[in-house]
Each structure stands twice: as C-alpha cells, then as structure tokens.
Amino acid sequence: MAEDQQDPTQDKTTPLHDEHVALGASLTGFGGWLMPLRYTSDLAEHRAVRDAAGLFDLSHMGEIHLEGPQSGAALDAALVGNASAIGVGRARYSMICADDGAVLDDLIVYRLADEHFLVVANAGNAPRVAAELVARSAAHDTVVTDRSAETALVAVQGPQAEEIVASLTAADDVETVRTMKYYASAPATVAGVAVLVARTGYTGEDGFELFVPADRAVGLWRALLAAGEPRGLVPAGLSARDSLRLEAGMPLYGHELDETTTPYEAGLGRVVKLDKTGADGEALPFVGRDALAARAQSAPARVLVGLRGEGRRPARAGYDVVQRGLDGAVGAVVGHVTSGAPSPTLGYPVAMAYVTPEVSAEGSELAVDVRGRAEPFVVVPLPFYKRA
C-alpha cells in the first residue's frame, strides 16, 4: 500500500515496538524497520499535530557520533555544509554527497560540545552514512561511532509540545526547554530520564525530538502519552508524518532526494558551502565539491516545484506531470511527481514534482496524468503550509 513497503518479515523493530502493538497500530516496513503506519486514523493524527500534539517513534533514524579534536574539520570535509561553524548547542540541516554531487542522504548535524557532534541520518541510509563518515574522516583526529542501536528517538510535535515536554522536565531544566531555540539542543532530565532534547522536527509545527537510551524509551514514551493526552496529544504514525512534512514542503529521501539528484535541483543549494575554508583560511575541499561547483554555475535541467490540485483527485509519487492538452487530454510529459497526497489541512491535493524549468514558474497551469486522466494542477510556492 505505502510505496516504501518491503517484506516486513525482514524488518527490525524499535524499542517501542510492543507499545505500538498494544496501541493497536497498523505496522509497515520502512527503511528496513517495522514502524507504525497509523494508530487509528491518518487524518486524526495529522490534525492532532496541527491543533495540539502528536507523539512519534523515530527510533529507526540513525545516530552517528563524532568525538575528538578534529570532529568539526572531519565533517567539513565529509559533508556539504560548514559543521565547524555550528555553535555548541545548535544544529543545522546538511547533506552528504558523492564525488559526482549526488545526494547520499540529508542529515541534521547537532553540535553537542566543542569536540562532539551528532549526525542524524535517515533509517535506510544510516549504515552507509556511518561507513562514509568513517572512511572520510580517516585522516582526522576523531572517533566515529554509530549509536543507532542503543539510541531511541521520540518526537513530540505540535503547538502543545512545549507544555507537554516542560510538564515532565526536571525543575532545573524547565527554563532550558522553554527558551530553547529552533534547531538547538541541550541535555535535560525528562520523566526522570537523562535525554538530549532538540527543538527540531519534520512536521512544520513547533516541537521537540528526544534522544533517549533504548532501555529507557518505554518509560519516556508512556510518560509523554500520559502527560500529553489531556492536552490533545495522540500517538502518530508514518502516514501522518508523511502528510505533515509534505504540507511543510520538506523533502523525503527516496522521493525528492536520491542519488540522481544534487542539492541544486531540489532547491537546497543554500546548504552547499562551496566557499568554506579550513582553520588555515584556505579553501576547503569536500567530497563532491568540484561537481557541485560546476553544477552551481549551470542552469538546472529540472526544478522541484509545489503543485496544487484544482480537482479532488490527488497525484501520487511516480505519476507524470504533463501539459494540459485540448479538451482535458493528457499532453506532453514535462516532469514527474515525487510526493503527493490530499492535504488534510488545506483540503485540496498537494504534490511536489520535478519539472522542466520552462514550466516551473509560479502560476504555471499543468496537469498530472492520474491513471490516464489529466487532472489540473497549478505551480505554487513551497511550503504549502506554514504555521501562524
């Protein structure tokens, strides 16, 4: 049903698996993991995050630590961004590319201390990202450790997230949590458990992600559910996560980003720091730099755009974007849909698609070939949804 579904019998389970089963979740294979797709209703879970809060198990994500005096320099050489410029306690969105500039994964890099960074990678890519970071940092004084297996990750997302997390936070840490900026992190004690609290997310709402030792995850999860329920929090599955991030215009690896894509087509050229310099002030080479520098100078062959449906039928990943033909016929192919769904918040179909630059302007009237019928769509700016 979900396009990412694989043989679920081979999938790993998270430390919260029994909780999901007890809550009656429908489970699905995703990135090599058996994850909750939904607990009750995709729409109800999506709306709870927009209106109150949702609780997500993200323990399938990879957590890779770099520790040592040259950890920042190692990441500068391995990733497209400028990790050594991240302040302690702050985080940045980044990518790891191949020599040819292709995106191997998109990442969040947290600087936990001067000489300690945490790289969070997508589930299916985490082993490869860890191996690449080991290989690419071999000449640097840093130790790369993949702690994905011993780390669980739960997210509380939505306008009630701060109240819910703060209500469980130790008195000494409440101020830290409440004043934490977006894309920042700090250690804190939540529900009696020492966790790393980060104000990051993938839903377009305010919210927190809590990194917790795997053997303490169940207690934290139950405490968050209990504290959150009176404030409208519900457990939310991957289906809601996908529709939330789509409304927020956020890319999903395997859809908007993959090994045929550079950051520039995806409209994410800003994360590539071609001019970053090393400690000596000299230009710093990094993996993919030459290819990306050339790519930055040339016109893109395709552009990632947002599409708003004028009818009711949603476009789905893989469908062709076409010109509107005469009398509603399917015209020439000008691109393809990477993600698409009916937007629960907006009430009309939304999609992200790669299209040729000639048809990529805002207001461009296109169509999507929805199983043989040309459904009208219009190019609109991303994101589709921005919180007030």
Partner: protein
C-alpha cells in the same frame, strides 16, 4: 477476528453485496481499515452496465488508491452521493451509510459467505 454481517455475500476483493433487488454494494471493514481514511470515491454512473469482477471505480485514501470491483453483473441504478460528498462514511460505517452503489442484478460472481470471507480475510 472481525464480525461480518451474515446476511451479506462477499468478494475476495473485499466488496459486499446484499440479496435485495436492486442489490446494494459496498466495501468491507477489512478494506476500509486497510485503506486508511478514504478521501475520494469514483463510482460507476447510473445506467452503466457492469460485469462481475470488472473494475468499476476507485477508492482513494490519504495514502493509496485501490480499484473498486463489482461483485455482480447488471445495471447501476443508484450511487451513494452522500458518500461521494463525504467519503469518511466508508470508514465509519462501511456496512451501512457507507454503501457505494445499487445494481439491478443479472448475475452474481463467485461470492463468499460471511464465515468463508472471515476465514479468508480475518
């Protein structure tokens, strides 16, 4: 295991049909649960001549789209416009208010009893 109404007959593709004339057709709770929240229905037109086992429409949910098969052959005499307008009723009441269309039946496909369907789908 889910309970399925005894008075209905079922197809392997998760449609149900009653034995009235005209016959009412819908999708089962198994289909509704597997689909997730239904957001769009495309049903056959009134007057259309349909064949048992043939695709007659589609059911689209937040996450996926599925084809709708007819369990009977005949002529469509009515479609559930309130379900088209508010497809959530397919999830909330698949065997009742979430019915999809009615057919003047000329013949029925190979259909299952509630017990047979439960054994297969449960």
């Amino acid at each position: 295991m889910a309970d399925f109404p005894e008075n209905l007959r079922y197809s392997a593709e998760h449609e149900w049909v009653d034995d009235a004339s005209p016959a009412t057709i819908g999708v089962t709770s198994v289909a509704a649960d597997a689909l997730g929240d239904v957001v769009y229905l495309e049903l056959p037109e009134v007057g259309a001549s349909i064949e048992a086992g043939a695709v007659v429409g589609e059911i689209e949910s937040t996450k996926s789209v599925s084809e709708l098969y007819s369990p009977v052959s005949g002529t469509v005499v009515e479609v559930n416009q309130s379900a088209v307008d508010d497809p959530a009723v397919v999830n909330s009441d698949p065997f009742g208010a979430g019915w999809l269309f009615k057919v003047d039946v000329t013949s029925r496909g190979a259909l299952l009893t509630a017990d047979e369907y439960a054994a297969q789908a449960g």
